[in-house]
Symmetry: D4
């Protein structure tokens, strides 16, 4: 059994690397959005032409990024959605809703202070974790039946 | 043609009332989440029993609210998602993602300062508005072909 | 908003009547399997001809009953699955699984002693109740936003 | 033609091993739930944190197990559901219902004394067997056209 | 509960009338193909222009008839497929296959001498009847729980 | 049987009126795009704000019009796609492709000189007509079994 | 591009072998039902136990065969349905209907005398051929763009 | 991550070759219609027999070509639709509509003078490009996160 896992959300810490490294040896194929913030913001205009209006600048980029995001979400068995401590992070919640409607298994990863604000997202999840290590432990258990410790 | 319109998101201003009132005479059936904040937070424990742990208190409520939210989203032709000026509002972005995966027509309603943070949500929308009046004008145009003014 | 509610499971107590009566005045359309035990067991052979072998006797009946069950489950917004105190009740758990795969909102109604054995069914539910009254309260809240008391 | 076969249900006898061993040389990929009873019961709290309340202890575990179960069911061509002689086994019947709604080919494996109680599950099955050997014979026939003996 | 029932197949006897008349008072909406044989054969060329080649003459008609057939099959809860004593009746078996793939409840109505030749169609059915009266009895039982006699 | 019919395509002649008038007395519910050319072109900017760039001017309008078009296409049983004598009419072909992927019954209405260029669209249609009168005759036949003349 | 092709229908002539042999070198994966007539008729009782009643004898076999048939049909890109000169062949027409509802590309292969009786099946096909050689030519053209001769 | 990309539309220039060559080293699998114009027009009659009527000549060919087109569209993650400077190109717009209804990521490639006529097609696209080079840049960015320059 190969698990396809999409790593959605926060791009400012190394949580993806922790999960990927921790999962070495497991039969997991990871995917993720482009995490280079500048490239992600500017991809639309860099390729398809400048826009004087910020809305369309952003729009063109978000549309191009959606090609990758949808592919990742639709192919995933498990979608891990990470909420960091800062920013609005509406794209993360959007991905969670998209994954929920597709019937994906969702793992939410967030600091405890966001608990109340995330309750609707948690209601669609199969696991709520605080640490990347716990995500790795879930993947290991799901694939091998082995618990930590 | 009857349009089913689900009004998702912010519950602290009267934007729903403005849209519903402005749409009088149009063939629209509106639905919405429970907008009584206290009832919405406590519905789970009030009906199904107290929980000492805040996480499960919230979880039980969010699950019960999901019965209404999913029904509203799945029956809708148009989902209007309102982002207000405050709070995390991850439930709004979650609903937008859910609606997008179902192929619903999405109208996002937000103040201009949220533009950049909402770019992924906007990329899934057919219209981005700033005022409830514009949502009414869209509904009127879609149903009758009449433009404002 | 009209809720279609399918009442699946145990047929030896009056829980369905309690829920239907308690929901008077709410915009709910209920459906349910045939609850006449003898008719339900014998419908296949009574209509389509006797079977000397008990397996096929039962099979013919279960197939005819499936016409009604599938219609009820597929049209439902909410599926209430009641587990009583006795019997195997595999049909109830089967309906719960069927409803889960269709993405229906599930409410499980069971006595507390069944909790551990029902944990996989509960994991697919949006609410777990012990009393028919609680189901009514959920339906009322979902439709009107009103909490008990 | 490769058959994906999910082996659902009873975890106290070696029926899975019998089927897997008997199918050696056939183009079958088997999957199954975690069959370590203790790990399966405790996986949620072991990874995501203790729960004083037994309901949430079980719930967390059932949710984590659902990641594997759904993956297995959704990828399967054939779902074998085994009912043993003891216990409620509602998870097995739940899996059968889930598989039925997804249109999977279902083989039920049960001792004859459960026949009447399983008639609704049998009504969704393409084969009802009593011995693991018969499941192997079905898989061999489906893949190679060869009958036993 | 309203049942939508599509009456597919043989058009040379009055079996449809028997079922419709026998179902008076039941909450059933029947649909059926055009049963005027000449109109059914010629509808394509009569409306869309003559074809010298018999294949295209038939093709144009079959395509126009498919508008009605698909609508009837897709809206149906129950598809009754009648095989008469004569002719190839491949359209009836085609409708049965189409209904099976859509997950419809299928009732096959055929004389006993066709049993062996129809075994694959029967394998997709929830009931196999020989008389229109039995179809009425199934519909009455499914809707009201009442058995004949 | 009520047929929902969406009338897609050319907006410069009175073909829609001819079909609607000719269908009086038939159980048909028609829908169509906004056929006021100026309103259709300008609806986006009129409601959501001016755009200096013609591309975004058009884009905003096309997105708002898509709310109505998708609703009409998704609810339709039959999609009539009219190609006139002039213009690119890519929106008509787009609607035909969209309808084909949804499995709708398609009737194409075009002058004979477009035959070769429309062959891929015709390959997805159940009828190819040259006159609105023929569309009416198809609808009458599908609903009543009556042929013209 | 790899084409999955399911070869449904008549089992008394070597048409499958002709197509498979003719397609050597093309990127095609063929599947087919079990074509050993005796094994196909008896597989149910040989594995799952004797039935004195011919109906259930046939039923058990048809159900087991359905495991293979459904797998083949659901994985296919192209379904070739062969009607021979004799027998009822309702299973072939059933497979055609099943494939049509799944949106598969259908090629019908039949002698010209069956043309009128097959017109509804032809209406769902993308090609109607008389010789296995033509099916090979279609597969070659679809995969390589090369026409015969 | 492997992207499946279908290259639909204009067949008179070397845009496909430019994209395929530019994408060397990227994890992309391309597919496309048969681009030999004469073969594409005549494939139906060359394989399945002559037709004196041009409509059926074209129809037979379009149906055979649909086998390849549908396979390509349904397997694609990204559909690139190229509109050239000449001809009606309704097949390109049809493919775009088909892809849109399937939820595929669409990139439209057209000269600027077609902008207004393509606005409904653009409204369903995630990117609108003028040069094949831009399509390559999008594919490279989506797969590797690297921007040009």
């Amino acid at each position: 059994m190969t698990l396809h896992v999409y790593l959605s959300g926060e791009i400012h810490t190394d949580w993806r690397e922790q999960i990927i490294e921790g999962s070495q040896g497991l039969d997991v194929i990871f995917s993720a959005p482009v995490t280079d913030h500048a490239a992600s913001d500017d991809c639309g205009v860099a390729i398809l032409g400048e826009e004087p209006n910020k809305f369309w600048h952003d729009h063109k980029g978000a549309m191009v990024n959606a090609i990758r995001t949808r592919k990742g979400l639709e192919e995933a068995d498990v979608v891990v959605v990470r909420f960091g401590e800062k920013y609005k992070q509406w794209n993360a919640a959007f991905d969670a809703g998209y994954a929920a409607a597709l019937g994906k298994s969702i793992i939410v990863l967030n600091p405890p202070e966001h608990q109340h604000a995330l309750k609707e997202v948690h209601a669609a999840a199969l696991a709520v974790a605080e640490e990347p290590r716990q995500v790795v432990e879930i993947l290991r258990y799901v694939l091998t039946g082995t618990l930590p410790g």
